[in-house]
Amino acid sequence: MTKYDVIIIGGGITGSAIARELSRYKIKTALLEKGLDIGLGATKGNGGVVHQGYDPVPGSVKAKINAQGAKQYPQLSKELGFEISNPGLFVLGFGEADLKVLEHKLDYGIRNGIKEIRIVDKDTVKDREPHINPNVTHALAVPSTTVVDPFEVALAFAENAVDNGVTVFLGQAVKKIEKQGQDFLVSTETKSYLTRYIVNAAGNHADDVAKLAGIEEYQMQPRHGDLLVFDREMDIKPQTVMFPCPGPDTKGIACIPTIHGNTIVGSTATMMDDKDDVANYKNGIDALIDGVHHILPELDDKKIIRSFAGLRPVVLDHDNDFYIEISKTDSHFIHAAGIQSPGVASAPAIAERVRDLLNDAGLDLPRNLNFNPFRPAPTIFNVLSELEKNMLIKNNQAYGHVVCRCETVTEGEILAAIKGKIPATTVDGVKRRTRAGMGRCQSGFCQYKVLSILAREQQVAIEEILLEDSGSQLIFGKVKG
């Protein structure tokens, strides 16, 4: 049996960032993900804002890690070939009481090291956002705020990690963790893995995974959030990430211009018991519509193309802070738990912290001299020039076959996703990588084509192709014969 130095449990943005960070060193690392794709938990269920760090209490783990992580994004985007935009952010104040809160957040922001953070007046907001609620009086401006697609970032981390020697195992839900001398034997339903260290990045299930190793140091509960996606084509849409004045546990319902030109509105914040309930709730959807109208009263709520939900992993009785520690029970077990907002922004710095903790726990980290920080950006046909499109098709006819008409996604891009370092194996896996099916027809026209391509490439019957998780077959067999 291969013996790993480190096994990371959980392939969200946190686990993937850790995998990539550890691939800088000459150690044997594997990542186990229970889903059939990476990034299926909180990673895909959030708005993608790279918060700069005005919210966390100065001095908290979160405050340091958030600011350090966020700063790395522009560079990471270049290295790893994921898209990033810089719309900036306003936290909107409605009157004098809110101004007090904003000033408080300004103080946090300055102490957490955010550059250019300041309070601006109504006119400054209105210049940038002409359709803003006229009752806005002030705003906290954080111009350095960026936006990413968190799945794309997680994929980029994971693929770059694979390129640098990390092994990623999908469909591997950990069922058992046993101690074998100094080592751990980690077992799933189908396989066992021997490792010296475990990094627990299991999101909402981090406490359950720890428990498998006999470690009970904290309890977790998910904070559920509904989110809405709006059409790219809207007369009135935000240019800036805009939050209302925050409440105690949540930053409130924001509108977020995505890197793809859509608008995301999210999210609600409800503590739940079920760690897997990512259903949408009617009261949540209604609250989101009210929430966005509080910011942009004239935004057309008929332009919704999709709703989704996510669960932020919250470590209970921990002041909403991250829980990134060496286990008190077993020093070879590292927690990267409770990564709620701003988990996206923090991921790169969480990875560095986990690396340091592993080192503190006795793991030698010799440099991997072959480490290649670069991952080529995937080809996006739609954004190429006419000349580039023509060249691409001349080299590979599959790029001349447009599969998704709403987002202009070609068969060439879908094939690249299916053959990627972390391959898309499901319809939603293809969608997340290529945007095929993400447009306003929501795959009504292209789902069959994507199914056919997946079946052809995997050499299986169409009936076996999944939407997402095991058991999510789209087709029940032939109509006749």
Binding site: L228, H401, R440, L474
Partner: protein
């Protein structure tokens, strides 16, 4: 590759084919650009009959109706680009497309937009609940069953009584799937009366009016839906929920003209019909760009699409031949009463006869259409019933349009309750 054509038609469905054939008949060079690997559009998957009664005076299936026009296209020396996707159209009528050979550039003198429409989705109507496999639009189910021989489910609930939903209820029942019921938010069926009768009543499939699907249950596959009665504002009535176990939810909740290219071209859109603003020549806000069929407004019958497309094809050819100077600047918006959803065209002038098409917002018993030029009544219909499922047409002679400055109003008077 670059080629010149007098008229380029975007879309090879029923609208595109009829427009192309008519344009070619006028003696101009015509190209059709179609993204699929065959002409015919959605007709190819509509294997039921009921097409052609008005235009061909015989009852045809969708593929038969399409076949008639495919033959005409073939005979007419029309250049057909298949598997070719238009990615951009510029206002100077350069059409950019891609296919397996690379980039295709077509320079046109006139363009006809005939891209059709798309179905509204689950997202658009915000059904809460889980997001499992087994929720799909009726049109996608139609494609799976009729063209690909694939079964998208076993026990099916249908939300929405649009025509595709009704047709699919019958189709799935005929193919041995269990259709548990059709649920409709409104207090009336949205599809044609004949489809309610032939597709539901004759197959014993219940239609539940004023009822909607309020939640999707189950993951990774649909396990049930929650349905709920709604009040006269369409809001769910607490306590009137019911769980229906099923594995599939089919949506037939409306069609929307496909606007990507219209938007890229910078066309003015009509917020009520969701299609481009056109005048009575079916010409959009960009000169020489015409629109017809479901990209302009959603039709009830393909026969009417054909008639409209013939007009668009003819006007496009004339534009290409004579570069006809239009009098748009003198055009006016057609006004209409609140119980009318939209009109096509949305603007008019008095230079020629005018055919106005419209749909009512809700069923009206004993209504009468009155047309005014200013205060002057110029035409009135007999008293009859109106349904949102039927597209209405009024034909007005140029001489009746009176003075353009006075405007034109279409008023649907309802019998006083």
């Amino acid at each position: 590759m670059m080629e010149n054509f007098d008229v380029v038609i975007i879309g090879g469905g029923p609208a595109g084919m009829a427009a192309a054939v008519e344009a070619a008949r006028k003696g101009v060079s015509v190209a059709i650009v179609e993204r699929n690997d065959e002409l015919g559009g959605i007709l190819n998957q509509c294997i039921h009959s009921g097409f052609g009664l008005q235009y061909f005076k015989e009852e045809l299936t969708g593929p038969e109706y399409a076949e008639n026009f495919k033959n005409l296209v073939e005979q007419a020396a029309i250049k057909v680009f298949l598997k070719t996707m238009v990615t951009d159209i510029s206002p100077d009528k350069k059409v950019t497309a891609v296919n397996e050979d690379g980039l295709v550039t077509l320079l046109a003198k006139a363009i006809v937009l005939a891209m059709g429409c798309r179905e509204r989705t689950r997202g658009a109507i915000k059904i809460p609940g889980t997001r499992p496999a087994g929720v799909l639009t009726a049109g996608l189910a139609q494609r799976y069953v009729n063209m690909e021989n694939l079964k998208p489910g076993n026990r099916v609930v249908i939300l929405g009584s649009g025509d595709i939903g009704l047709i699919m209820a019958r189709r799935l029942a005929l193919e041995g799937m269990e259709v548990l019921g059709v649920y409709e938010l409104m207090p009336y069926a949205n599809g044609l009366f004949r489809n309610v009768k032939n597709c539901l009543d004759d197959f014993g499939i219940p239609l539940h009016l004023s009822t909607t699907v309020s939640r999707v249950i189950g993951y990774p596959r649909v396990e049930a839906v929650e349905v709920c009665q709604v009040d006269d504002k369409g809001c769910a009535i607490a306590g009137k929920e019911k769980i229906i176990p099923c594995d599939t939810l089919l949506l037939s909740v409306g069609l929307i003209p496909e606007n990507e290219l219209s938007l890229k071209l910078g066309l003015k859109l009509n917020g009520a019909s969701n299609g481009p603003v056109v005048n009575q020549d079916l010409e959009s806000s960009v000169k020489g760009v015409f629109a017809c069929g479901n990209v302009l407004h959603v039709h009830d019958l393909v026969d009417k699409v054909t008639v409209e497309a013939i007009q668009a094809g003819k006007n496009a050819a004339e534009f290409a031949l004579f570069n006809t100077v239009r009098r748009d600047e003198q055009s006016q918006f057609i006004k209409y009463s609140n119980n009318i959803a939209y009109t096509v065209p949305s603007i008019f002038n008095t230079s020629k006869d005018l055919l106005v098409k419209f749909r009512v917002r809700k069923p009206i018993t004993g209504g009468q259409i009155k047309i005014f030029s200013g205060d002057q009544l110029i035409s009135e219909s007999r008293i009859r019933d109106f349904k949102p499922s039927s597209m209405e047409e009024i034909s007005l002679k140029k001489d009746d349009l009176c003075d353009q400055a006075k405007g034109l109003s279409i008023i649907l008077e309802e019998a006083s309750a």
